[in-house]
């Protein structure tokens, strides 16, 4: 079982999500929040999807949520992931950021049998390189 599941790593210098990776490197789970209406937005957008304000700030959110959906990838469909299957992909709703759905893997595939919609889940941070710290899900 390997993490990350693929050698394809996020580019932490991509300006749109750079604050997210700066956050994870410090063990923080940060998402863009509209400074006018307070709604969290993911993925980052030009304008708030609710009030159309262009002003956002990246706010920390508790690294905890529940499973919205999941799938277990059993045949590799991504170059470099051949040795990683089976691995679980989870889509999480975050307790403190309604409207945000976050996509990641189970940290430990031995939890595959516990996958269930609604399962309470915590986020752990895994340092892959000094620049790339990736969040993963652990079912509580």
């Amino acid at each position: 079982m390997s993490r990350p599941i693929s050698p394809l790593l996020p580019r932490t210098d991509w300006s749109v999500a750079q604050p997210f990776w700066e956050g994870t490197a410090r063990g923080e789970f940060r998402f863009p929040r509209c400074t006018d209406c307070g709604r969290y937005q993911w993925y980052p957008r030009v304008l708030c999807r609710v009030c159309m304000s262009p002003d956002f700030s990246w706010e920390p959110v508790a690294p905890h949520g529940s499973i919205y959906s999941f799938t277990v990838v059993r045949r590799p469909m991504l170059a470099g992931a051949e040795e990683s299957v089976p691995f679980a992909v989870v889509l999480l709703h975050l307790d403190e950021a309604p409207g945000v759905t976050f996509i990641t893997n189970l940290w430990d595939d031995s939890q595959i049998g516990q996958l269930a919609i609604g399962a309470a889940t915590s986020i752990v941070f895994h340092e892959v390189t000094p620049e790339v710290c990736m969040p993963y899900a652990v079912i509580d």
């Binding site: 990350p4 991509w14 799938t71 277990v72 469909m77 889509l91 945000v100 996509i103 893997n105």
Partner: protein, 382 residues
């Protein structure tokens, strides 16, 4: 809409399809266009407008028009995305014809994916997906829609194994269609014995990857009377595009309904028909959960009941609501959206042959999906 031009489909054409073909997309489109002209009894110079989808076709349009020898005042326009866009072209044709800008319109679409990087290439090029999804293995389309299917089955208390009835239904029709790429019938036991690809999907829950092209020609009912084939009327149609970004749609959107819930009712209203008037339906079947959701979203049944239609046999030959009589994207070919317009016209002409002709087919519905966009087109026997 009462002042809008009426449309008749008077010619259809298609190339062979296969996982890989030697012809590039331009050549495939030209061949399909010539076949549609031949079918109608028209020459390319009789065409005064050429339409297609907006995602891939604009780049090759000059080559297609040059090959067909189109005159400099030929009107061209593009609408929508792969699958959905080509099915929406009659809506643009109607606008052009109502404005007096065209009278005989060629609608064409073709693809050669092996020459454009494969089905995942478009998604790989998206930096949101490349940076925030692919590192976690949320790629490609089969994985996105497996997660949608997982949630759907949970919400409606449906056994995910029943998804197999969707490809089974497509294959039952494909077995009757000489041009289908997959013709070997299988049972639900065969389906269940296959390994998972990405839970709850197996390879059979996914559509084909094909190369090929289709074309059709629309004109006025008056002009149609002089041409070779029995015309098929465009009764109505609608295209809906939800305000969702491409990269959010399949995952972080966190919900799984389709824009068919807008385009379906709008198309019915314009056509003056309702779901119970439809004799045959074409529901975009890229992955098994998608026709189920369209069946519900368009209004054929209530939420959660869509899979029953496939399980009960009502979508199969002899059933109450035949779906994808060509074999669909799953068994016929992946020339998305437009291959269903082709088949719907064949059915409404009464020309499908004994094996798969839907008896007395008078009204056909074509639903074509592309993420945040969906087109519903309603055709009628003239």
């Amino acid at each position: 809409m009462s002042n809008a031009a009426e449309l008749a489909i008077v010619g259809i054409g298609a190339t062979e399809t296969a996982a890989a073909l030697p012809d590039d997309a331009t050549r495939l489109c030209v061949r399909a266009a010539l076949a549609a002209c031949e079918d109608a009894g028209l020459r390319p110079t009789d065409i005064d407008a050429v339409l297609s989808e907006a995602h891939d076709m604009p780049e090759i349009f000059p080559d297609i028009l040059a090959s067909l020898g189109m005159s400099p005042d030929t009107c061209t326009a593009h609408v929508g995305l792969i699958g959905s866009g080509a099915v929406a072209t009659p809506l643009i044709a109607r606008a052009l014809m109502s404005a007096g800008m065209a009278s005989t319109v060629l609608c064409v679409y073709g693809l050669n994916l092996s020459q454009s990087g494969g089905f995942g290439a478009f998604h790989e090029a998206d930096p949101f997906k490349a940076n925030l999804e692919m590192p976690f293995g949320f790629f490609p389309q089969a994985v996105y829609m497996a997660a949608m299917a997982q949630r759907y089955c949970h919400d409606h208390g449906v056994d995910p194994d029943d998804l197999g009835y969707v490809p089974l239904s497509s294959r039952t029709w494909g077995a009757l269609n000489p041009t289908a790429e997959r013709r070997t019938p299988f049972t639900i036991e065969d389906y269940l014995a296959k390994p998972y690809l990405s839970d709850p999907f197996r390879a059979l829950d996914c559509c084909l990857v094909s190369e090929g092209a289709c074309a059709f020609i629309v004109t006025t009912p008056e002009r149609a009377r002089d041409l070779r084939q029995r015309p098929v009327s465009v009764l109505g149609g609608a295209r809906a595009v939800e305000p969702e970004t491409e990269h959010e749609y399949f995952g972080v959107r966190g919900s799984y309904n389709l824009p068919a819930r807008y385009s379906g009712p709008a198309a019915f209203k314009e056509a003056g028909v309702c779901a119970s008037d439809v004799d045959v339906a074409y529901l975009y079947d890229c992955f098994s959960i998608i026709p189920v959701m369209q069946y519900e979203n368009i209004g054929f049944c209530a939420p959660g009941e869509g899979l029953d239609a496939f399980k009960s046999g009502s979508t199969r030959p002899g059933g109450r609501m035949p779906v994808n009589t060509h074999g669909g994207l799953m068994s016929h070919s992946y020339v998305p959206g437009i291959n269903s317009v082709y088949e719907a016209v064949v059915q409404l002409r009464g020309a499908a042959g004994d094996a798969r002709q839907v008896p007395d087919a008078e009204v056909a519905l074509v639903g074509a999906w592309a993420a945040q966009e969906h087109t519903t087109l309603i055709l009628g026997r003239s």
